[in-house]
Symmetry: C2
Subunit: 218 residues, 2 copies
């Protein structure tokens, strides 16, 4: 019975996600769903991405948080349109919450929409929002065992960014073993090592992003 309910929720979500995606497509907006643990660096990645693409790509942001608007305030300083979604306790965004946020953005004036999900490696993996690609951010201090512990998240990720790579000298993290584990779960995912602090690897990420925006293949 419980499984039935969950399936119905997911199936209803999928329908709304498809409607969101059609709305984005009809406005020529390429959308990313950014997922990670709390504090892995989603907001920093968004700010770095805005800075690198300023004047080239028109960016909009949807910020998902349980109750605060701290990250939306940080991002609005970059002078891009930001809509805050407060889930009021829910541990993930879903397509239904995303829909009114889309209605509140001027989609015709946006090329790239960055959606920052709730910091959580579990439930966000189950709910499509209408995005074109799913970005998973994992940071060095979290440890290299995460693919084993949160396999669904790695299974659905189109790209995995290993953030805070500048902390590698201070921590034990087996980069090769991690990448092998990720590829075993999802051989199509791409992996980049980045640091939003030092800028390492950000060019490669931006290049992936721009390439996918122009050849979305979805």
């Amino acid at each position: 019975m419980k499984i039935k309910v969950i399936k119905d929720i997911l199936s209803a979500n999928k329908q709304i996600a498809e409607r969101n995606r059609r709305l984005l497509d009809s406005n020529g907006v390429f959308a990313l769903n950014l997922m990670s643990s709390p504090g892995a660096g989603k907001t920093s990645l968004i700010i770095e991405t805005i800075k690198r693409l300023r004047g080239k790509v028109r960016i909009g942001v949807i910020e998902g948080d349980i109750s605060s608007s701290l990250d939306a305030e940080k991002i609005s300083k970059e002078r891009v349109p930001v809509i805050q979604i407060n889930t009021g306790g829910e541990c993930h965004l879903d397509a239904n919450m995303t829909s009114p946020a889309l209605d509140n953005l001027s989609l015709g004036e946006i090329d790239l929409l960055l959606i920052e999900n709730i910091g959580n490696l579990v439930c966000p993996a189950e709910f499509e929002l209408g995005e074109h690609k799913k970005v998973l951010l994992l940071s060095i201090p979290e440890g290299d065992d995460k693919p084993y512990k949160y396999p669904l998240m790695f299974h659905i990720a189109d790209v995995v960014l290993i953030n805070k790579i500048d902390l590698l000298p201070y921590l034990e993290f087996d980069l090769e073993g991690f990448s092998r584990a990720v590829k075993r779960i999802n051989q199509n995912t791409e992996i980049f090592q980045i640091s939003c602090t030092t800028g390492q690897g950000i060019e490669a990420w931006i290049s992936w992003l721009v390439t996918n925006m122009h050849h979305p293949a979805h």
Copy 2:
């Protein structure tokens, strides 16, 4: 309607949690519910705690994971009884999952039960398991804004451990501002700075633990 369902789930959970707590009490077991983001160091804290209390306190462990048993294997090397709960996708432990795990431990041979919850700062805060105290582990790399973003978790925590304090020189983290924010949400919580890598602050944590075991005040 939806809220009604959630309330019923939480109220049913609370009843089972109380039954679990009575079972623990009748066996003289003091139980902790350890919660954190993925990779904040719950398993390392459990291992440090076992090492410091070996020969003095008989410890048992319940390991919550979505699908793997990596952490349970690490902990079983410390020669303590470990029960693995795999939630099969659920992002938190609940009292109902905890109950059969308790039945599979020889509670009469345990003084202290450490329950490692799923790595998640959201939903675990809503589900009591039958524990006597709630321990929230937050690590320096996650950033000092977490009390604003996950207020319920800080609201319910009896103790907040700031782990990976050895990484402070490499990261921006406002310890005073963080502690002020925590105290604003929950003035009764105690805060310790620790490092499971260097051992810093572990004595203070062990001292808190032993004091609370003997004067549980629950």
